[in-house]
Structure formats: structure tokens, C-alpha cells
């Protein structure tokens, strides 16, 4: 007597995909989300998560300490408009550590042609990468600022809350995020090696801040204080602080002030435009060969 088979395994073979195909906007959004997660090490190895989260934690420390000071002595600790310039080395390290991750592997392992053989153009790709890096920089800076503001509201300091100061610092955080992201990606994209990318971004920050200080000192010792103030704008963090000063009238956080007028705003726009053109030219060259 034969045993009746109770189940059969069917080879269903190849099935065509009949479902929805999303447009370019959705694809770019998916790439942005994927890249932003990657910047914080999400969806990557445990090792990749250490650096971004450590730096994000360090960014939060002054806010936490400030809230404690406000709660204990009823006095404002760290000012909103000073946050970015005081924490600038941490932000620079975050940028240097994460910007190369976004661009270098796709160049090094030649993944870029796979993106471009899909409904994604070079500009879509760069836009997504830039949006991801900008959002990451903004998150890292805006989170402690917002925490500080919530802390201030909860502690209920004497006098009105520093709402304008908070808004000003958030706007300049956004400007700083765009500026740093475009500079970081442009610098990192010139080498397919991640280590070199990290080194070149951090070297650029050290160079800019040192040159800025050297020129400032030199002009000041010659008694040309007005010229010395221009030298401050070489450092991207003070450049954005100067934008904040000219837009919102916050006190300058470098102690000496900046050249008057809208120059800082124009320079920021110019630097972002130059960095983005460099980035696009770099990719035009990479994809044409």
C-alpha cells in the first residue's frame, strides 16, 4: 500500500513584479533616508555606531550641564548663540568622520554606475547625499539647542524666555549644516579612500581656523583692527556666527565682532556655491569616464 502524499512543494518559478513603481522623488527620499541612517551607523556594524553616537553625546553634555546650572542657581548657563562656536571641534570631527562615508565607498567600489543605471541622475544622487549630511549636522547641533530651550522653559527662569535667541541659533544651525555638509562632501569626494577623506576634512578645518587666528593676530598687532575682523571669517564657524550677528543682532561669540554689513551672508552663499560646483564637477568627471 502506498502512502498518500500530504503536501507538495511547488516550484513557482519566476514571478513578474506587478506592483507599484515609485517616482524619482521617492527614490531620492529613500536614498536620503538610507544615507542619513548610515551617517549614524544605523544598518551598519556596531563599530560604525560608536563614533557618531559618542560625538552626538558630547554635543549634548554642555546643554545638560547648562540645564543643571539653570535649575540650581536660576541663571542662564551657556548661551544659544555661542553653542556652535564653542562646540566647533566636535562638529568638525563629526563632519570629518561621517562625510567620507557618504561618498567614498560608492566611488572606491564603483557602486555609482549601479545608481546611475537606475532612474537616478548624478544630481539626484548628490542631492540625496547632501540632504543626508545636512540633516545629520543639523540634528547633532539642533538637538542640544532644543533640549536647552525645553530645559529653560521647564526651569522657568526669571524674566521672559530667550525665544528669539533660540530661533536665531536654530536658523544659524541650519546655515552651518548646509555650509559644512557641502564643504565636507566636496572635500571627501576628491579621494575614493575613506581615511584620506577624513584626514582632508579635518586638515581643512585645522588649516582654516589656524590661518584665521594667525591673520587676526598679525593685523591686530599692526593696529588694523577692522582688517583683523575680516580674518575671523576664514573660519567657517565664525563665518556663520557673523551671519547670525548680521541677521538677528546677537552678540558676536568671538568677543571682537565682525565686519559690518551683509558680507558674511554673501560669503556663505559664495562658499556653498563654490563647494557644490566642485562636487558636481568632480562627479561629472567621475561619471563621464
Amino acid at each position: 500500500m502506498t502512502i498518500q502524499p500530504t503536501g507538495v512543494i511547488h516550484d513557482i518559478g519566476y514571478r513578474h513584479y506587478e506592483g507599484e513603481r515609485l517616482g524619482r522623488g521617492h527614490v531620492v527620499a529613500a536614498l536620503t533616508r538610507h544615507s542619513l541612517r548610515g551617517v549614524f551607523g544605523l544598518g551598519r556594524t556596531a563599530k560604525a555606531k560608536i563614533m557618531p553616537f559618542l560625538l552626538a553625546m558630547i554635543m549634548l553634555l554642555p546643554a545638560v550641564v547648562s540645564i543643571a546650572i539653570m535649575a540650581l542657581v536660576k541663571q542662564q548657563g551657556l548661551q544659544y548663540h555661542d553653542y556652535a562656536t564653542i562646540m566647533q571641534p566636535v562638529l568638525a570631527i563629526f563632519l570629518a568622520a561621517q562625510a567620507p562615508y557618504l561618498v567614498a565607498p560608492d566611488l572606491r567600489f564603483q557602486v555609482l554606475p549601479l545608481y546611475l543605471s537606475r532612474p537616478v541622475t548624478v544630481l539626484d544622487y548628490l542631492g540625496a547625499k547632501l540632504a543626508a549630511m545636512t540633516s545629520a549636522m543639523f540634528l547633532v547641533l539642533a538637538t542640544p539647542l532644543t533640549l536647552l530651550f525645553i530645559g529653560e522653559l521647564l526651569v522657568d527662569l526669571p524674566g521672559p524666555p530667550h525665544t528669539t535667541d533660540y530661533v536665531a541659533s536654530m536658523v544659524s544651525a541650519a546655515v552651518l549644516a548646509v555650509l559644512l555638509a557641502s564643504l565636507g562632501l566636496a572635500l571627501a569626494s576628491f579621494t575614493p579612500r575613506r581615511g584620506l577623506g577624513v584626514a582632508s576634512v579635518i586638515a581643512f578645518y585645522l588649516f582654516a581656523s589656524t590661518v584665521s587666528l594667525v591673520f587676526y593676530g598679525a593685523f591686530e598687532s599692526m593696529g588694523q583692527d577692522d582688517t583683523a575682523k575680516w580674518a575671523m571669517l576664514i573660519n567657517p564657524f565664525f563665518l556663520v556666527d557673523a551671519v547670525q550677528v548680521s541677521l538677528f543682532g546677537t552678540p558676536p561669540s568671538n568677543g571682537t565682532g565682525y565686519p559690518p554689513g551683509p558680507w558674511a551672508c554673501l560669503i556663505v552663499i559664495g562658499v556653498i556655491a563654490a563647494a557644490l560646483s566642485g562636487l558636481v564637477l568632480r562627479y561629472r568627471k567621475a561619471t563621464s569616464s
Partner: protein
């Protein structure tokens, strides 16, 4: 039905000029659904043609259509329904095949859940099982080629461009890859344009073969015509091979002696059976013992040599 519906790829006078070299010269060719082989030596212009067909590079002059869409203006629409497997290595080492293929599916516009399903299905079809959860960095060349193929198929394209898919594979890996390509064309119903510089390989999987050399079209025809043109019969007799050869040559046949075998060419335009009759009559008249009389399928290589000669 318009011609653009049946034509998979069509080019008209396609020319691509680089500053120093001419990659494609006045290429006019049409292919239909099925597996099409694109044959040429290295640097013949195969990869350039694929880039133009994907709408990634503009042609210097001439036009090209893929699935009825113009490559110059509808590149994005073409790339939505076409897959591409590049010749070079293109895989990041630190992610798993599954993650990578899911990401690439999303980059083709598939929603996330659909991308996951399709990636799992496609990786199974190309023959990657448990290893697909390991980082790609530890894969063999054969496995990498499969991942590259999977990312080209994951969004269920109507046409795939496979650039040298058998590159770097050992003979067994080569056979498996070729069988997979045959299945893509036959079972999956996806048209394939596959390039190779090895002609024998393509003979086994293609319906149609295009031969290009230095950017110029040497030949474009169905595989049947290719081999039919060089159809030959092999004749083996016990003794008197030489006299048979002389007799047939005298009768106007193209004959070559290959060891103990006699190869007689059958011209394609021949009226049916004239050559066969000539062989039969010659063997009878000379009173020879016929050991073997069989059809020999010509190889593409022979055809490829022809235009050069």
C-alpha cells in the same frame, strides 16, 4: 503593431566619437525579444554601446531606441525598466547581499516591502542561499557575479544588459552563468543583451548575434543563420579518403581533409541536397566503405573569421 513594440533595441547610424578614438561608427542594428549576443574584441565598443543605450552618454550622431524609447530624451524612463550588470566589480564589501540588493531595488523605485520580497526571490533565482546574509567582502568571484546579476534583475526589468557576465569565472561557473542567462531569456521572459569576447559561449545561449569590430557592425543575424551558413557534413570512409576528396573537388564541392575525416561545406543557398547527392554518388562510384556521414554544426568563430579574410 508598430515596429517599436517588437524591436527591443534599434540604432540608426549611431556614432560615438571620443577625443582620441571612435568607439562606434555608423552602427545600424535592430534586435528583437530574446537573448541577443553582442560580440567583439576588447575595445570594440560594446560597453560604450550599452552606456548609450542606457541614456548615460550622448551619441555623437545617430539615434537609438530601447523598448521604443529614445535614449537621448527618455533615459530615465528607459532605466526604470532596464537592468544593467556592469563588467567591473561594483559591490561594497561591508554589506550583505540581501541588504545590498534590497537597497538597489528601492533605488529602482520599488517600495520597501516589495523590495525585500523581490530581493529574496531574485537571490534565490540566481542561486544564492544562506550566504546572502554574510558581508559581500567574503564572497568568491562566482558569488559576486551572481549578486551583480541579482541587482540587475531585482526590479523585474523588461530588458537586461549583461556586460561580460562570465568574466573571471572558472569553466563550471561559466556554464552555470550561461544556463542562468538562458533561463532569464526563456523562463523569466526578460530580453537579454549579453556581451562577450568569447564567441563559443554566446552560441550556446543566444537567439541572435551581433558582431562588432572597432565600432563597426560586422554582422547581425539569428543564430540559425549563423550556423546554417557554415553547415558542413563530415564524411569518414575506410580507405580512399584522398580519391574521394579529389572526386568531390572535381564536382565543384568545397572539401577539406581533417585527419581521418573529410569535411564538405554545404552552401546555404544550395538547392536541397545537391551536396549530399554528390557525396553519395562519389562514395558509390568509387566503391568505398562509408563509416560515417554526419552533419557538422558550424561554429560562430568560423563566421567571425570570414569578413576579416
Amino acid at each position: 503593431m508598430t515596429p517599436s513594440v517588437t524591436a527591443c533595441i534599434s540604432t540608426e547610424g549611431l556614432t560615438k566619437q571620443f577625443p582620441r578614438v571612435t568607439a562606434l561608427e555608423n552602427l545600424t542594428v535592430t534586435t528583437e525579444a530574446g537573448v541577443t549576443g553582442l560580440v567583439g574584441a576588447n575595445g570594440a565598443g560594446k560597453s560604450t554601446l550599452i552606456k548609450i543605450l542606457l541614456g548615460l552618454q550622448p551619441a555623437t550622431s545617430g539615434r537609438a531606441h530601447v523598448l521604443g524609447m529614445d535614449t537621448a530624451t527618455q533615459g530615465v524612463d528607459i532605466r526604470r525598466v532596464v537592468g544593467y550588470m556592469p563588467e567591473h566589480d561594483c559591490l561594497p564589501p561591508d554589506v550583505s547581499a540581501t541588504e545590498f540588493v534590497v537597497h538597489m531595488a528601492q533605488m529602482s523605485g520599488l517600495p520597501r516591502t516589495a523590495a525585500r520580497e523581490r530581493a529574496a526571490d531574485t537571490l534565490r533565482h540566481v542561486g544564492l542561499y544562506e550566504e546572502r546574509y554574510r558581508p559581500i567582502g567574503g564572497y568568491s568571484t562566482g558569488m559576486r557575479q551572481r549578486v551583480k546579476l541579482a541587482q540587475a534583475l531585482v526590479h523585474d526589468p523588461r530588458l537586461v544588459f549583461l556586460d561580460e557576465p562570465t568574466n573571471g569565472l572558472d569553466p563550471q561557473g561559466r556554464d552555470e552563468m550561461l544556463a542562468l542567462i538562458r533561463r532569464i531569456g526563456a523562463d523569466f521572459g526578460i530580453s537579454v543583451l549579453v556581451t562577450s569576447h568569447l564567441l563559443g559561449e554566446l552560441e550556446r545561449v543566444c537567439d541572435h548575434v551581433i558582431v562588432i569590430d572597432s565600432g563597426r557592425l560586422l554582422r547581425s543575424s539569428s543564430i540559425g543563420e549563423f550556423t546554417q551558413a557554415t553547415q558542413a557534413i563530415a564524411v569518414e570512409v575506410e580507405d580512399g579518403l584522398q580519391s574521394l576528396a579529389e572526386r568531390l573537388t572535381a564536382a565543384g564541392e568545397a572539401v577539406a581533409v581533417q585527419g581521418r575525416l573529410l569535411t564538405v561545406q554545404v552552401p546555404a543557398h544550395d538547392e536541397a541536397g545537391r551536396t549530399y547527392d554528390a557525396v553519395r554518388d562519389a562514395v558509390c562510384d568509387l566503391n568505398l566503405n562509408l563509416v560515417r556521414l554526419e552533419q557538422r554544426r558550424g561554429h560562430i568563430e568560423d563566421v567571425f573569421k570570414e569578413p576579416a579574410a
